[in-house]
Symmetry: C2
Subunit: 251 residues, 2 copies
DNA sequence: CGTGCCAGGTGCCGT
DNA sequence: ACGGCACTTGGCACG
């Protein structure tokens, strides 16, 4: 269903009637403002405005993947007439943020009953962790998994293991290039485990590592293991095995 | 310009002719796949597909602000016919990632000459830093600014200052709630300055701080200063003053 | 192009 | 609701 070059009144009625019923795409020339945690002015130009039934508002220009201004799911989007011109007001409750669009011209409004399907992503860090738990020799031979996502006072450890000597091994996993933050994270975890459980060391598993991260890694006496998620991708994608049977020990 | 319920051949021609000329919105029922750093399957359902002249591809469902699958600017988007059905192939060069959509039905394709206007955002962290540099008494009385965005081996320091006693003061600024990462960041900077320049302490400036961040803050003997960006917002927005005259000392 | 880092990040899953 | 964290994060600036 679509209306072309609607009058402001007609456009407002259409939007308010259908804003919860489906995805609304508005091709228009408008200006606008965003006010909230920050502030922005949207110059008058042609934009594609998308109103989703969950409250999402997107204003897209001709470039970039991110909208120029937006409001997330849960916002209240309403069309109002003010002095004959159509305003589209979007209000996000918490934090309080608003997007107000002033329509100079509306070329088309299309209503579309888009499906609410979600996408199952594979090859994520979690998938990589699951794979490594079942193939710990990739990380280092002789490791026994103690737990996955083990909480410590410094945060959650991706994989906690023990080696043949009975020493704890903290494994931090990154699916892509590990930066210094990953190293500091691992360092904190190792310190936390050493304090709470006993002697511990750390292994950073990632597809690559930045030079400064490697510098810190050596400074803190940590180990780096390179994995190629691209090569593991097939295995990660074609995983017909069930969920990890890790012990998931706490504290 | 728009075409309704086009035949695959017509749709392909339209897309390939106009994909660099303007924003193309495709209302369609399609399935698809994403392959690259990760992988995903898009079930057959109605979606809004957006093709931007800069190569951006977005596939939106009826929920969420984030597209279900996408490719960023710089991708090559092409429509091809395969056995009578329309395929939309998007290829991102580096990293190599692809989105392939198989059109079951195309309801509408609209071409729209969206403007390439950018939005100037105000109230960002940089704005807050600029304000604080000119109003250092908000951070602490008696501070002299040494530099802004000062590079150290541990990263860039938001504001480096000296107090009345000649001690270096590292100021880390967050526009919203500071978490433990911000505290660790500040700690690294203070250590780097202490090593490179001499005695130093640290101040974290943010609108608020998480409890665990506050815990670490005290452990590391750092100071927290709460600012209300909302109250400063007017000043940040109505800043008619020119760029910071900071010395921007290096090393 | 790599590194670093902010972002109105968004989204997910805990307690 | 707050917290912690991954994300195909995206986008930017700088060496």
């Amino acid at each position: 269903m679509r209306i072309l070059e609607p009058e402001p009144r007609e456009a407002a009625a259409f939007i308010n009637t259908n804003r919860r019923r489906g995805l609304i795409a508005v091709f228009c020339i408008c200006g606008g403002t965003y006010r909230g945690r920050a502030a922005a002015e949207l110059p008058v130009a042609p934009y594609l405005v998308v109103i989703k039934p969950d409250g999402t508002l997107l204003v897209h220009g001709s470039e970039k993947a991110t909208p120029l201004v937006w409001n997330p799911p849960g916002s209240s989007n309403m069309a109002v007439l003010e002095g004959g011109t159509l305003l589209l007001k979007s209000l996000r409750p918490r934090p309080s943020e608003s997007v107000v669009l002033k329509m100079e011209r509306v070329l088309e409004i299309a209503l579309f009953d888009a499906g609410s399907s979600s996408v199952r992503l594979r090859g994520t860090e979690r998938d990589l962790v699951d794979f490594l738990v079942k193939n710990m020799e990739v990380v280092e031979p002789g490791l026994d998994v103690v737990g996955v996502e083990v909480p410590t006072e410094a945060g959650h450890i991706d994989i906690l293991a023990v080696d043949g000597a009975g020493e704890y091994v903290v494994v931090e996993v990154k699916r892509d290039v590990a930066d210094h933050e990953a190293v500091f994270q691992l360092r904190r975890y190792v310190e936390a485990v050493a304090k709470a459980r006993g002697r511990a060391r750390g292994i950073l598993v990632a597809s690559d590592i930045t030079s400064s991260a490697f510098h810190y890694l050596r400074e803190y006496n940590l180990k780096f293991v390179k994995v190629k998620p691209g090569e593991l991708m097939e295995k990660l994608i074609n995983k017909n095995n069930c969920k990890s049977s890790s012990t998931d020990v706490r504290r």
